[in-house]
Protein backbone atom coordinates (compact mmCIF):
# COMPACT_ATOMS: atom_id res chain seq x y z
CA UNK A 1 0.00 0.00 0.00
CA UNK A 2 2.81 2.30 0.89
CA UNK A 3 4.49 1.65 -2.44
CA UNK A 4 1.36 2.51 -4.39
CA UNK A 5 0.88 5.66 -2.36
CA UNK A 6 4.50 6.66 -2.93
CA UNK A 7 4.23 6.04 -6.65
CA UNK A 8 1.02 8.04 -6.92
CA UNK A 9 2.55 10.87 -4.96
CA UNK A 10 5.60 11.03 -7.19
CA UNK A 11 3.38 11.00 -10.25
CA UNK A 12 1.34 13.85 -8.81
CA UNK A 13 4.53 15.80 -8.20
CA UNK A 14 5.61 15.32 -11.79
CA UNK A 15 2.21 16.37 -13.15
CA UNK A 16 1.97 19.44 -10.96
CA UNK A 17 5.52 20.44 -11.79
CA UNK A 18 4.72 20.03 -15.50
CA UNK A 19 1.60 22.17 -15.24
CA UNK A 20 3.54 24.81 -13.34
CA UNK A 21 6.34 24.93 -15.91
CA UNK A 22 3.88 25.24 -18.78
CA UNK A 23 2.06 27.99 -16.92
CA UNK A 24 5.25 29.94 -16.40
CA UNK A 25 6.29 29.62 -20.05
CA UNK A 26 2.80 30.65 -21.17
CA UNK A 27 2.88 33.62 -18.85
CA UNK A 28 6.07 34.88 -20.42
CA UNK A 29 5.05 34.14 -23.98
CA UNK A 30 1.43 35.29 -23.96
CA UNK A 31 2.22 38.91 -24.88
CA UNK A 32 4.13 37.71 -27.92
CA UNK A 33 1.40 35.27 -28.90
CA UNK A 34 -1.41 37.76 -28.52
CA UNK A 35 0.26 40.21 -30.84
CA UNK A 36 0.44 37.65 -33.63
CA UNK A 37 -3.28 36.89 -33.66
CA UNK A 38 -5.01 33.60 -32.97
CA UNK A 39 -4.52 30.86 -35.46
CA UNK A 40 -6.46 27.71 -34.76
CA UNK A 41 -6.20 24.46 -36.63
CA UNK A 42 -8.35 24.65 -39.72
CA UNK A 43 -10.92 22.01 -40.27
CA UNK A 44 -10.77 19.97 -43.41
CA UNK A 45 -12.69 21.89 -46.10
CA UNK A 46 -14.82 19.02 -47.31
CA UNK A 47 -15.62 17.91 -43.79
CA UNK A 48 -16.71 21.33 -42.71
CA UNK A 49 -19.14 21.57 -45.63
CA UNK A 50 -20.88 18.39 -44.51
CA UNK A 51 -21.06 19.48 -40.88
CA UNK A 52 -22.29 22.94 -41.79
CA UNK A 53 -25.01 21.60 -44.06
CA UNK A 54 -26.05 19.06 -41.47
CA UNK A 55 -26.30 21.73 -38.79
CA UNK A 56 -28.47 23.88 -40.99
CA UNK A 57 -30.84 21.01 -41.57
CA UNK A 58 -31.29 20.42 -37.87
CA UNK A 59 -31.32 23.89 -36.31
CA UNK A 60 -34.34 23.72 -33.92
CA UNK A 61 -33.40 20.64 -31.90
CA UNK A 62 -30.07 21.98 -30.68
CA UNK A 63 -31.72 24.39 -28.25
CA UNK A 64 -32.66 21.52 -25.96
CA UNK A 65 -30.81 20.87 -22.74
CA UNK A 66 -28.91 24.11 -22.87
CA UNK A 67 -26.81 23.08 -25.83
CA UNK A 68 -25.51 19.86 -24.36
CA UNK A 69 -27.27 17.78 -27.03
Amino acid sequence: MNAVFGAALRLLVICLASALVIGVVYFFLSPVIASEGKRKAQMHPAGSIVIHAAREMSAPSSELFGGII
Partner: protein, 223 residues
Protein backbone atom coordinates in the same frame (compact mmCIF):
# COMPACT_ATOMS: atom_id res chain seq x y z
CA UNK B 1 19.10 -2.07 -21.93
CA UNK B 2 22.23 -0.09 -21.34
CA UNK B 3 23.83 0.84 -24.58
CA UNK B 4 26.97 -1.03 -25.52
CA UNK B 5 27.78 1.23 -28.44
CA UNK B 6 30.42 3.86 -28.57
CA UNK B 7 29.23 7.43 -28.41
CA UNK B 8 29.56 8.05 -32.12
CA UNK B 9 27.72 4.82 -32.89
CA UNK B 10 24.85 6.01 -30.72
CA UNK B 11 24.73 9.18 -32.76
CA UNK B 12 25.02 7.64 -36.19
CA UNK B 13 22.57 4.80 -35.71
CA UNK B 14 19.68 7.21 -35.83
CA UNK B 15 20.69 8.28 -39.31
CA UNK B 16 20.45 5.05 -41.29
CA UNK B 17 20.68 1.81 -39.37
CA UNK B 18 17.85 2.58 -36.99
CA UNK B 19 16.34 5.48 -38.90
CA UNK B 20 13.02 6.13 -37.21
CA UNK B 21 10.93 6.68 -40.30
CA UNK B 22 12.33 4.11 -42.68
CA UNK B 23 13.58 1.37 -40.39
CA UNK B 24 11.53 1.29 -37.23
CA UNK B 25 8.55 3.11 -38.78
CA UNK B 26 8.07 5.05 -35.59
CA UNK B 27 7.93 8.67 -36.62
CA UNK B 28 5.12 8.35 -39.11
CA UNK B 29 2.01 9.12 -37.11
CA UNK B 30 1.75 12.85 -37.06
CA UNK B 31 4.66 13.60 -39.35
CA UNK B 32 3.70 12.19 -42.73
CA UNK B 33 0.83 14.64 -42.93
CA UNK B 34 3.10 17.67 -42.95
CA UNK B 35 5.42 16.28 -45.59
CA UNK B 36 3.65 18.15 -48.34
CA UNK B 37 5.95 21.15 -48.08
CA UNK B 38 9.69 21.09 -47.52
CA UNK B 39 9.54 23.94 -45.03
CA UNK B 40 6.91 22.13 -42.94
CA UNK B 41 9.00 18.97 -42.96
CA UNK B 42 12.10 20.83 -41.81
CA UNK B 43 10.13 22.67 -39.15
CA UNK B 44 8.44 19.55 -37.89
CA UNK B 45 11.75 17.71 -37.87
CA UNK B 46 13.40 20.46 -35.86
CA UNK B 47 10.52 20.61 -33.39
CA UNK B 48 10.47 16.85 -32.91
CA UNK B 49 14.23 16.80 -32.49
CA UNK B 50 14.08 19.47 -29.80
CA UNK B 51 11.30 17.71 -27.89
CA UNK B 52 13.10 14.39 -28.29
CA UNK B 53 16.41 15.68 -26.96
CA UNK B 54 14.79 17.47 -24.04
CA UNK B 55 12.63 14.42 -23.21
CA UNK B 56 15.52 12.00 -23.30
CA UNK B 57 17.55 14.34 -21.13
CA UNK B 58 14.82 14.76 -18.51
CA UNK B 59 13.73 11.13 -18.44
CA UNK B 60 17.30 10.04 -18.05
CA UNK B 61 17.86 12.47 -15.16
CA UNK B 62 14.62 11.45 -13.47
CA UNK B 63 14.94 7.75 -14.07
CA UNK B 64 15.29 6.92 -10.40
CA UNK B 65 12.50 9.22 -9.37
CA UNK B 66 9.90 7.85 -11.77
CA UNK B 67 8.18 4.84 -10.21
CA UNK B 68 7.92 1.75 -12.38
CA UNK B 69 4.20 1.23 -12.16
CA UNK B 70 3.20 4.63 -13.44
CA UNK B 71 6.08 4.92 -15.87
CA UNK B 72 3.94 5.51 -18.93
CA UNK B 73 1.92 8.26 -17.27
CA UNK B 74 5.06 9.99 -16.03
CA UNK B 75 6.75 9.82 -19.41
CA UNK B 76 3.61 11.09 -21.09
CA UNK B 77 3.39 14.00 -18.66
CA UNK B 78 6.98 15.02 -19.38
CA UNK B 79 6.57 14.68 -23.14
CA UNK B 80 3.30 16.61 -23.11
CA UNK B 81 4.90 19.41 -21.13
CA UNK B 82 7.88 19.74 -23.43
CA UNK B 83 5.67 19.51 -26.49
CA UNK B 84 3.39 22.25 -25.16
CA UNK B 85 6.40 24.47 -24.47
CA UNK B 86 7.76 23.95 -27.99
CA UNK B 87 4.27 24.67 -29.35
CA UNK B 88 4.06 27.92 -27.42
CA UNK B 89 7.52 28.92 -28.63
CA UNK B 90 6.57 28.17 -32.22
CA UNK B 91 3.30 30.06 -31.88
CA UNK B 92 5.17 33.06 -30.54
CA UNK B 93 8.30 33.15 -32.68
CA UNK B 94 7.51 31.22 -35.88
CA UNK B 95 3.78 31.79 -36.41
CA UNK B 96 3.86 30.97 -40.12
CA UNK B 97 5.38 27.57 -39.45
CA UNK B 98 2.95 27.00 -36.59
CA UNK B 99 0.02 27.76 -38.87
CA UNK B 100 1.41 25.39 -41.51
CA UNK B 101 1.74 22.56 -39.04
CA UNK B 102 -1.77 23.23 -37.75
CA UNK B 103 -3.18 20.31 -35.78
CA UNK B 104 0.01 18.29 -36.11
CA UNK B 105 2.07 20.66 -34.01
CA UNK B 106 0.02 19.64 -31.00
CA UNK B 107 0.34 16.01 -32.00
CA UNK B 108 4.11 16.09 -31.62
CA UNK B 109 3.30 15.00 -28.08
CA UNK B 110 2.22 11.59 -29.38
CA UNK B 111 4.98 11.11 -31.90
CA UNK B 112 5.88 7.47 -31.37
CA UNK B 113 9.62 8.10 -31.58
CA UNK B 114 9.66 10.19 -28.46
CA UNK B 115 7.86 7.77 -26.20
CA UNK B 116 9.80 4.85 -27.62
CA UNK B 117 13.20 6.43 -27.09
CA UNK B 118 12.26 7.54 -23.59
CA UNK B 119 11.08 4.07 -22.71
CA UNK B 120 13.81 1.99 -24.32
CA UNK B 121 16.91 4.15 -24.10
CA UNK B 122 16.70 7.10 -21.77
CA UNK B 123 15.28 4.99 -18.98
CA UNK B 124 18.50 3.03 -18.64
CA UNK B 125 21.28 5.19 -19.93
CA UNK B 126 23.11 8.26 -18.75
CA UNK B 127 21.94 11.75 -19.60
CA UNK B 128 24.79 12.43 -21.99
CA UNK B 129 24.25 9.26 -23.99
CA UNK B 130 20.52 9.82 -24.09
CA UNK B 131 21.00 13.27 -25.55
CA UNK B 132 23.33 11.87 -28.20
CA UNK B 133 20.84 9.13 -29.06
CA UNK B 134 18.05 11.68 -29.31
CA UNK B 135 20.17 13.94 -31.51
CA UNK B 136 20.91 11.10 -33.92
CA UNK B 137 17.27 10.06 -34.07
CA UNK B 138 16.15 13.64 -34.53
CA UNK B 139 18.53 14.26 -37.41
CA UNK B 140 17.60 10.95 -39.04
CA UNK B 141 13.93 11.78 -38.67
CA UNK B 142 14.37 15.23 -40.19
CA UNK B 143 16.39 13.92 -43.12
CA UNK B 144 13.89 11.18 -43.90
CA UNK B 145 10.90 13.48 -43.62
CA UNK B 146 12.58 16.13 -45.77
CA UNK B 147 13.32 13.53 -48.42
CA UNK B 148 9.65 12.56 -48.54
CA UNK B 149 8.65 16.22 -48.63
CA UNK B 150 11.08 17.01 -51.45
CA UNK B 151 9.62 14.28 -53.61
CA UNK B 152 6.04 15.17 -52.78
CA UNK B 153 6.45 18.86 -53.33
CA UNK B 154 8.68 18.82 -56.41
CA UNK B 155 6.63 16.22 -58.24
CA UNK B 156 3.28 17.22 -56.80
CA UNK B 157 3.50 20.96 -56.99
CA UNK B 158 6.59 21.87 -58.96
CA UNK B 159 7.96 24.01 -56.15
CA UNK B 160 10.25 23.80 -53.17
CA UNK B 161 9.05 25.88 -50.26
CA UNK B 162 11.78 27.07 -47.97
CA UNK B 163 11.75 29.81 -45.40
CA UNK B 164 11.21 33.39 -46.53
CA UNK B 165 14.40 35.38 -46.24
CA UNK B 166 15.08 39.03 -47.03
CA UNK B 167 12.27 39.79 -49.43
CA UNK B 168 12.22 36.43 -51.25
CA UNK B 169 9.00 34.63 -50.40
CA UNK B 170 10.77 31.32 -49.99
CA UNK B 171 9.29 29.38 -52.87
CA UNK B 172 11.53 27.96 -55.57
CA UNK B 173 9.58 27.16 -58.67
CA UNK B 174 11.02 24.35 -60.73
CA UNK B 175 10.74 25.22 -64.41
CA UNK B 176 8.81 22.71 -66.46
CA UNK B 177 7.43 20.73 -63.55
CA UNK B 178 5.32 23.62 -62.36
CA UNK B 179 3.15 23.44 -65.45
CA UNK B 180 1.90 19.86 -65.07
CA UNK B 181 2.44 18.56 -61.55
CA UNK B 182 1.18 15.22 -60.25
CA UNK B 183 -1.37 16.77 -57.94
CA UNK B 184 -2.22 13.59 -56.05
CA UNK B 185 1.23 13.56 -54.49
CA UNK B 186 0.34 16.69 -52.60
CA UNK B 187 -2.61 14.97 -50.97
CA UNK B 188 -2.68 12.31 -48.30
CA UNK B 189 -2.85 9.51 -50.86
CA UNK B 190 0.43 10.74 -52.24
CA UNK B 191 2.03 10.55 -48.84
CA UNK B 192 1.18 6.85 -48.63
CA UNK B 193 2.43 6.18 -52.15
CA UNK B 194 5.68 8.09 -51.84
CA UNK B 195 6.43 6.46 -48.53
CA UNK B 196 5.67 2.99 -49.87
CA UNK B 197 7.96 3.40 -52.86
CA UNK B 198 10.77 4.97 -50.83
CA UNK B 199 10.59 2.17 -48.28
CA UNK B 200 10.74 -0.38 -51.10
CA UNK B 201 13.83 1.33 -52.53
CA UNK B 202 15.33 1.38 -49.05
CA UNK B 203 14.63 -2.34 -48.66
CA UNK B 204 16.13 -3.09 -52.07
CA UNK B 205 19.29 -1.17 -51.18
CA UNK B 206 19.60 -3.03 -47.91
CA UNK B 207 19.03 -6.38 -49.54
CA UNK B 208 21.70 -5.70 -52.10
CA UNK B 209 24.11 -4.59 -49.41
CA UNK B 210 23.33 -7.66 -47.32
CA UNK B 211 23.84 -10.06 -50.21
CA UNK B 212 27.02 -8.22 -51.13
CA UNK B 213 28.37 -8.97 -47.68
CA UNK B 214 27.53 -12.62 -48.10
CA UNK B 215 24.69 -12.66 -45.59
CA UNK B 216 22.02 -15.30 -45.88
CA UNK B 217 18.78 -13.80 -47.16
CA UNK B 218 16.91 -16.76 -48.58
CA UNK B 219 13.48 -15.32 -48.11
CA UNK B 220 14.35 -11.74 -48.93
CA UNK B 221 11.87 -10.58 -46.32
CA UNK B 222 13.08 -7.45 -44.60
CA UNK B 223 10.05 -5.82 -42.95
Amino acid sequence: MTSRNTLSEDLMKGLVRENPIFMTLLGLCPALAVSNKVSSALGMGAAVAIVLIATNFLVSLLKDFIPGKVRTLAHVAIIATLSTIVNLLMHAYTPALFADLGLYAQLIAVNCIIIDRANSFARENSAGRSVVDALGMGIGFTLALTLIALLREVLGNGTITLFPVAGWNGTLIIPGLGAAPIKVLGMSAGAFLVFGYLKAMFNAYRMRKASGEGADIKSGQIA
